[in-house]
Symmetry: C2
Subunit: 313 residues, 2 copies
């Protein structure tokens, strides 16, 4: 009798749910809306319903499911407690225990960025790699660490929050986290736009297609590709910060691979060219052998990693 595993990845607008065989083969993937009203009270019941629905559809009995893995956007400790997931409305609660009660199935839970890294280290571009850092360059910066084949959870589930390492002393604006000078303030998609806007203000005489309008990170990179001097320089500063921040992480962790994911990584391997000079200048020589690769699983990394948590138990 075939054994199955579910992998769920809770995002701010949708929950992605994957059905996998025990061997790691993906059989189904679906999305349900994340209902954040009423303090997010419906999120776990909705997931439980979607799991039951999938089981019915595929004719899978309760005894054929080994368990449910789940990634959630917040710090999740080793016992399954999440401590405030602002985007979902959740306060402190035990996700592992709650979903177990709703489904009667064993549950494993982790922070979404860590779980995505665990997925990339399994079926993605870090496949088979035991020491990996994944950085997700989106609206913010997410980080996930796999050390010796396991997720680095940390004492309270905040392991791998590299978006908030301190990178710049002189910063006057505050990060979303309240600190000043976080990695995320320069190297998220929002950060890239900020760097370009600062440069526009520093050089009021320099013409640029980006001037006097709002623009996205994607548009900034497009303008740089077309040779706009402000955009080229902003993109250069972006790469410099990215290399410096990742060098700090690599010096602490000595990963074999750094996986670049998230919206900004759509710029492709150009990103590696941009970050390499400052990375090489700042990283400890003992950690220099790290390889940079682009994420391969896209927004399915989370469901893969979640399923893997159950399979490798």
């Amino acid at each position: 009798m075939e054994q199955y595993v579910f992998g769920a990845d809770i995002g701010g607008t949708t929950v992605k749910l994957g059905l996998f065989t025990q061997a790691g083969e993906k059989k189904d993937v679906r999305e349900i809306p994340t209902r954040t009203e009423n303090g997010g009270a419906q999120i776990l019941p909705d997931i439980a319903d979607a799991i039951r629905g999938t089981m019915t559809e595929y004719g899978i009995g309760q005894s054929e499911v080994c368990g449910i893995g789940m990634g959630a956007p917040g710090p999740v400790d080793a016992n399954g407690w999440i401590d405030h997931a602002v985007n979902l409305g959740w306060g402190k609660m035990n996700l592992k225990e709650s979903l177990r009660q709703l489904t009667g199935l064993p549950v494993a839970v982790g922070n979404d960025a860590n779980v995505a890294a665990f997925g990339e280290a399994w079926k993605g571009s870090g496949s088979g790699c035991r020491n990996l850092l994944m950085v997700t360059l989106g609206t913010g910066i997410g980080g996930g660490i796999v050390a010796d084949g396991k997720i680095l959870t940390g004492a309270s589930g905040a392991g791998g929050e590299i978006g908030h390492i301190h990178l710049e002393d002189g910063e006057e604006e505050a990060c979303n986290c309240g600190s000043r000078g976080c990695f995320e303030q320069y190297c998220s998609a929002t950060g890239a736009v900020r760097l370009a806007n600062r440069l526009l203000a520093e050089k009021p005489q320099e013409p640029s297609v980006l001037r006097d309008r709002t623009f996205t990170c994607r548009e900034l990179f497009a303008a740089a590709r077309d040779g706009d001097p402000i955009a080229v320089e902003a993109r250069g500063r972006y790469g410099e910060y990215l290399g410096k921040g990742l060098a700090v992480c690599a010096t602490v962790l000595n990963p074999e691979i750094i996986v670049l994911g998230g919206g900004v990584s759509k710029a492709g391997t150009l990103l590696i060219d941009l970050l390499k000079p400052s990375f090489d200048a700042c990283v400890f020589h003992g950690a220099k052998g790290v390889r940079f690769v682009m994420a391969a699983l896209g927004n399915e990394a989370g469901i893969y990693g979640a399923a893997r948590m159950v399979i490798e138990g």
Copy 2:
């Protein structure tokens, strides 16, 4: 029949060797010189001799020894390979296999700073703690990471080399590692003296007991305690860098405890007062709960950690 374990810690001038029971009780500790001549060819044979000598003295037979744990000053990968230990004259060699052949006993090897952290997390001030960062503030900065109860070795044995995280962009002098702006350049004992000498040069009019002489880090801290304004300000800058560097590490790792060890830590808990303001300003809120403690095992942390590697195998 009682079972025994050896723990060895190889330093640049001496090798410390401990005999432990399988239960972790220390029965004997001795030191032998580290003979670095001839590319350090005698170091492992000397350790093997010292182990045999100890066994004879205590009437311990080969079958009563579970194994030998060893910490070495360089990157040691998961298979026991060390890749250049400059202080000892070693090139690339397999320590685990070499010592096994010399003794006929199972061997476990790790980087000395990581092994010391593993010891403090066992019988020292981090006893029972599964997520710990140890920083050794000496001539350089050593770092050791315990994540989920295991040493964080990294891909090539350079995990935890926090002394070389990039902390300062404007630095003009090079670190021993070749980079510029490493943590160690500010927060080792040597770094503290450097900060004070820079301050003396910045303020040529300001009188100070440190002016026009050479001084040690210990003398700098003594002068600060006596109220010398330059020394007080230098000590403040030292604390600021220390807090910032440790905040970066804590944001990546989310440890439960940070253990402060090494010569500079003789300044005691004052060090915690000095580093706390910048630590709190820079660390990610999810990692803020970390406790700072002073190392408890002194220069025996290494032999404890080495023995633990065998015991927890």
